[in-house]
């Protein structure tokens, strides 16, 4: 049995657990997967956070990916970090960099088990700020400088690949190299506010070809295995080529709800809550949703595709939020089956759910100025 087959039946504990501590954010990126803005008054309390960490330690979850929102906006964030480290639960946290002062950078550099991931979406300020808001590029680069000055090696710089920045892959690599950081590229999915910009920002078929070859040429660039649908183009990309939702991946949201993956914040993919008896462990091991996701799925419309072994129908979230049936092809299917499926699904896109915070009150939504603009 291949590793992917074994993993599709699920694991005793997740490998890739994302924990969004708050949807509060001081930015309002146009593609934010969690539609972040305001903090939710129902967020887990500090002692509830600690109880979750205790469970993760008991389950031997090796590390968590902490995100948000901007997780450092929680006043107990640094305390939580120490609590995780003390229990040998490693932490990688994603940040826009705004709180990475020189002294914080020094503290982080001195802590084993902690990794930092700075998000940018353009290799220059113009491209980045069109997505992430004015001034955000400088903030991120300043944070990188602070980490480098503190001697933090190999921190991550994470980029969501879009139509507008896909031509800058070499630029991203050069930028991260300057700071001794490691580049991570991920796929734009139509989740959260990403749904509003997906049609105009997701990479084109030609760009996917270029991206695929670039990834094969740069095996050290991290991807969170998020481009596995491109493996249908030929030689498989390194990593796990399957949708790990509920099998190796899951998400805990700020109020403790557990979803199959960070990109499917919708009731249909909610497995339970850490606040119920049995906690996270019970949700992971026994929830109806996760049990279903671990059963062998049908290949559906992809059954006759010669690349099914490589691509397995692609990303569940990308299908769901574009209205394509879950056993249909990925909207970005490299064999072009996405277009027809998108047409057939026209008008049936699920609305994003209330309850996930939107832009902060009074802040207004940034105008996605990149819409309609195309790289020459």
């Amino acid at each position: 049995m291949r590793v992917t087959d074994r993993l599709s039946h699920g694991l005793d504990a997740p490998i890739c657990l994302t924990w969004e501590l708050t949807y509060g954010c001081n930015l309002a990126c146009v593609h934010c997967l969690s539609s972040s803005g305001k903090r939710d008054p129902r967020e887990l309390t500090t002692s509830e956070l600690f109880a979750v960490v205790d469970e993760l330690a008991a389950m031997q979850v090796f590390y968590v990916n902490i995100g948000g929102g901007e997780p450092t906006l929680r006043p107990d964030f640094w305390e939580l970090l120490d609590y995780c480290v003390a229990r040998k639960v490693g932490v990688k946290f994603s940040t826009n960099g705004s709180r990475i002062t020189p002294s914080i950078a020094q503290r982080l550099a001195a802590t084993d088990y902690v990794d930092v991931q700075i998000s940018i979406d353009g290799a220059d300020a113009a491209t980045n700020d069109a997505i992430r808001g004015p001034g955000s590029f400088d903030v991120a680069v300043t944070a990188m400088q602070h980490l480098t000055d503190a001697g933090f090696e190999n921190f991550k710089v994470s980029v969501v690949v879009t139509r507008d920045n896909v031509a800058q892959l070499d630029g991203f690599l050069a930028l991260t190299a300057r700071y001794g950081a490691q580049l991570r590229l991920t796929r734009l999915r139509p989740s959260g506010r990403g749904a509003d910009v997906w049609d105009t920002l997701h990479v084109t078929a030609d760009q996917q070809q270029t991206l695929y070859r670039w990834l094969l040429d740069h095996p050290r660039v991290l991807t969170g295995d998020s481009f596995f649908h491109l493996s249908a183009l030929g030689e498989p990309l390194p990593g796990l080529n399957l949708c790990g939702a509920g099998r190796v991946v899951c998400l805990i949201d700020p109020i403790g709800d557990v979803y199959a993956c960070p990109f499917v914040l919708h009731d249909q993919f909610k497995a339970g809550t850490v606040r119920d008896a049995g906690g996270f462990t019970k949700v992971w091991r026994e929830s109806v949703l996760f049990t279903e996701l671990r059963e062998p799925g049908s290949a559906g419309a992809c059954a006759s595709c010669g690349s099914y072994d490589a691509c397995r129908g692609g990303c569940m979230a990308a299908k769901f939020f574009t209205g394509i049936p879950l056993d249909g092809p990925d909207p970005e299917c490299v064999h072009g089956h996405g277009e027809a499926a998108l047409l057939a699904a026209a008008g049936s896109r699920p609305a994003s759910q209330p309850g996930h915070s939107h832009s902060a009150a009074g802040k207004g939504r940034p105008v996605p100025v990149s819409i309609g603009r195309r790289p020459a």
């Binding site: 590793v3 694991l11 005793d12 990688k92 084993d112 088990y113």
Partner: protein, 83 residues
């Protein structure tokens, strides 16, 4: 004779298919798909030589070359260290 031990920064977690090994330093995850290999990794440092460790989990002589190679790959991946 080489003596192996589990790298001090590596955590092992049992799974149905064998085990996962995670290196907290380089943050790499390794899949171990063979129960006997997992057992050897867990116990190897108690033995003076690899053959004794392999024999203890029932790996017979003909099967050992494959295990030597697997252990060497795990050393390269920093899951094991050589003492």
């Amino acid at each position: 004779m080489t003596r192996y031990a589990l790298h001090p920064q590596v955590g092992l977690r049992e799974e149905k298919f064998g085990a996962l090994a995670y290196h907290y330093g380089n943050r790499r995850l390794t899949f171990l798909n063979d129960d006997r290999l997992v057992a050897v990794i867990r116990t190897v440092e108690q033995y003076d030589d690899i053959d004794a460790a392999l024999a203890a989990v029932g790996v017979v002589a003909e099967q050992r070359p494959a295990f030597y190679r697997a252990l060497e790959r795990l050393r390269e991946a920093e899951v094991l260290i050589c003492e």
